[in-house]
């Protein structure tokens, strides 16, 4: 009996070539993608610097940071601008060297320099702290010792300068602040893709679609009618998750409730529209589920939510930018933790809006009024 059931299941599976393709292709594509893309070592992390000293010594530090390829340095005007650059997301790290740096070095007075790190990205924050060592290794500091003829010999020379690291926006490096904002997006993605992913394909499987197709409804009214209820449900879910986060998990308040609502609205619309598109592409509910998972898994891993975007090789980076969740992560961290200005988030908002237009447009094209 069991044998007969197994045989029947295998026959049914074989008769669904798209599902078989998904089962075979999905792991291969994802494995290849993740094998190439998932790295913990960031490259070319944008670092804003102010070098008031402009000396041989300060150049040594900058060269040390730049030469390993971890940091991509660019100059800004003053110390506050470093923080604003990081807040805006244009830089992930910053370096400030005071104007008396070389004077103090030559006096062996151990000057301080300041290293700023964006504290909103879990693995990137840690990696940046680690790689800042390249500013203080022997290659850099070797030439910074000045002997005083009168001084006593010491066994261990003190560091010629001290680098103070300042974790911006999340000074205590709270894990909930790292992850919770993105988790909201993951949950909404799951709810929206799976709720809407089966909505049309279920009508097709249950044969209710055929009966619907003879009515005078337009494509647009079908799509909007299908989208609206799920948009509202997902929006309610979005705020429900936020409220639980605020009440129980120390989630910070946003810089602007209006912008947060705008994000909720646009992101939910993207996900619901994508779900609808999945539903229109799929022939069975099973296929829809698989495609949804096919989208959710790389979204989580390639969006900068867990692994830093800066660690993803340039060849794969376009995939990250083709993932709506990438922009969500950028905006929600900006709103909840960094308090980024709207103007600096506008590109990400526009990207999400673009996804809505593309997905709704494709859905309307795909939804032929004929079976």
């Amino acid at each position: 009996m069991i044998k007969a059931i197994i045989k029947k299941e295998l026959i049914q599976l074989r008769r669904d070539p798209r599902l078989v393709a998904l089962i075979i292709i999905m792991p291969i594509v994802l494995l290849t993608l993740f094998a190439v893309a998932l790295k913990l070592e960031p490259q070319n992390v944008r670092m804003a610097f102010v070098d008031e000293d402009q000396s041989f010594f300060s150049n040594m530090i900058k060269t040390g940071l730049w030469s390993d390829g971890y940091f991509d340095l660019y100059e800004v005007n003053d110390r506050t601008q470093i923080i604003e650059e990081i807040r805006a997301g244009r830089a992930k790290a910053g370096l400030f060297i005071n104007k008396d740096f070389s004077a103090l070095i030559t006096e062996n007075s151990q000057p301080h320099i300041r290293f700023f790190v964006d504290g909103t990205m879990p693995s990137l924050t840690t990696a940046m702290k680690y790689h800042s060592n390249s500013a203080t290794d022997d290659g850099v500091t070797g030439n910074m010792y000045f002997s005083d003829a009168d001084a006593e010999n010491v066994v261990i020379a003190q560091e010629p300068f001290i680098m103070d690291t300042e974790i911006l926006f999340n000074p205590d490096e709270k894990e909930t602040w790292f992850f919770l904002p993105g988790v909201i997006g993951v949950l909404i993605m799951q709810i929206a893709l799976i709720l809407t992913g089966i909505t049309v394909v279920r009508e097709r499987e249950k044969r209710t679609l055929e009966q619907l197709l003879v009515t005078p409804m337009s494509r647009t009214s079908f799509i909007i009618g299908k989208l609206m209820p799920y948009v509202i449900i997902a929006l309610l879910d979005f705020y429900f998750i936020l409220i639980v986060g605020w009440l129980f998990f120390d989630l910070p308040q946003p810089s602007s409730h209006g912008l947060l609502f705008l994000l909720a609205l646009v992101y939910v619309a993207v996900m619901i529209a994508l779900g609808l598109l999945i539903s229109l592409i799929s022939k069975t509910q099973q296929q829809a589920m698989f495609i949804a998972i096919f989208i959710i898994v790389p979204s989580i891993l390639l969006s900068g939510f867990i692994f830093p975007l800066e660690a993803i090789p340039d060849s794969i980076r376009p995939v990250s930018y083709a993932i709506p969740f990438t922009y969500f992560v950028d905006i929600i961290r900006g709103l909840l933790i960094k308090h980024t200005h709207f103007i600096d988030l506008s590109a990400s908002y526009l990207a999400l809006l673009g996804f809505v237009v593309v997905f709704v447009g494709l859905s309307i094209i795909k939804f032929r009024k004929t079976l």
């Binding site: 044969r207 209710t208 009966q211 197709l213 003879v214 009515t215 005078p216």
Partner: protein, 305 residues
């Protein structure tokens, strides 16, 4: 009311509908009769605009299908209403899809199809017969001029079937045009106009009487003789034999005019040693149906349509 010109539809290699033209007048009950997989459902879907024809066009009340949607209703072969909605919710939904909010009409439809008592039941819990009534009520919610019914009584008990047909006549009397697909002979008899479809092509078209005359000069003989495999085999081997059909203890044959009645009797006698008398009779619809839907490339097949 319904005019289809040279409709063709191909699914990959299969030519499902081949150059089908139909003209159906107002108030008619038109039956499309054909064996399974002959293309009945494809034709009805083409007429309703659910699928697009590769060639040909359809006019319903002089409108193309897309514009005609508000004036026709469609009942699919399979239950296409929402099982998770109640009877009333289904009815209300389909009415609203046509912009109708006339509760009086919907209640009238519930009564007409004996559904009032099930108004608040989930559609999925209804029996097959009542599901069919609900589908019909939903298709009539917007009071269409034309109703397309794809095998409306398949799998329905004879009593309900009769009730449904009484209703079809009433709808026809109300001036509605009905397009019905079926493979039930008795249903075909009830239609005002009929077309036989076989392998995607219309092989005969007319009133039931006209169709039975489609056998032309071919003759139909009958006799009371219980089923005997050897008799069947021997008869089928006769040159000019078109159809051998057993109805209980009645044996019917359709033969070409040149086949001699005595010769047939002789063959039967040789096997059964019974002196049976063959009587010539009029072809019925089933004779015509089977003959006309047999492989039309068969050398034995000739019609005068």
């Amino acid at each position: 009311m319904i005019n289809a010109h040279h409709l063709s539809k191909r699914f990959k290699k299969l030519l499902a509908v081949n150059d089908v033209s139909l003209s159906i007048g107002k108030g008619q009950i038109f039956g499309l009769l054909g064996p399974n997989a002959a293309g009945k459902t494809t034709v009805i879907r083409l007429l309703c605009g659910i699928i697009e024809a590769d060639e040909g066009d359809v006019l319903i009340n002089d409108l193309n299908t897309a514009d005609a949607k508000p004036i026709f209703g469609y009942v699919a072969q399979y239950f296409g209403q929402y099982e998770g909605l109640t009877v009333w919710e289904n009815l209300e939904f389909y009415a609203q899809m046509y912009g109708i909010d006339d509760h009086e009409r919907l209640n009238y439809l519930l009564q007409r199809y004996n559904l009032s008592q099930f108004k608040d039941l989930l559609a999925g819990t209804l029996s097959g017969g009542y599901k069919r009534r609900l589908a019909l009520a939903c298709a009539l919610a917007h009071d269409p001029l034309v109703l397309f019914l794809d095998e409306p009584t398949a799998g329905i008990d004879p009593v309900t079937r009769k009730l449904l047909w009484d209703d079809f006549y009433q709808l026809s009397a109300e001036g509605k045009t009905l397009f019905v697909t079926t493979h039930y002979m008795e249903e075909a008899q009830r239609c005002h106009q009929l077309a036989f479809i076989s392998s995607g092509s219309i092989v005969a078209n007319g009133t039931p009487d006209e169709i039975t005359q489609a056998l032309g000069g071919n003759r139909v003989y009958t006799t009371m003789l219980p089923y005997q495999p050897k008799v069947q085999e021997a008869l089928l081997n006769i040159k000019g034999m078109i159809l051998v059909n057993q109805f209980g203890s009645e044996l019917r044959m359709v033969v070409k005019p040149n086949v001699d009645k005595n010769h047939l009797e002789h063959i039967i006698f040789a096997i059964t040693e019974n002196n049976c008398k063959l009587e010539e009779t009029k072809a019925n619809l089933e004779d015509a149906f089977i003959v006309l839907t047999q492989d039309s490339s068969s050398p034995e097949f000739e019609t005068t349509t």
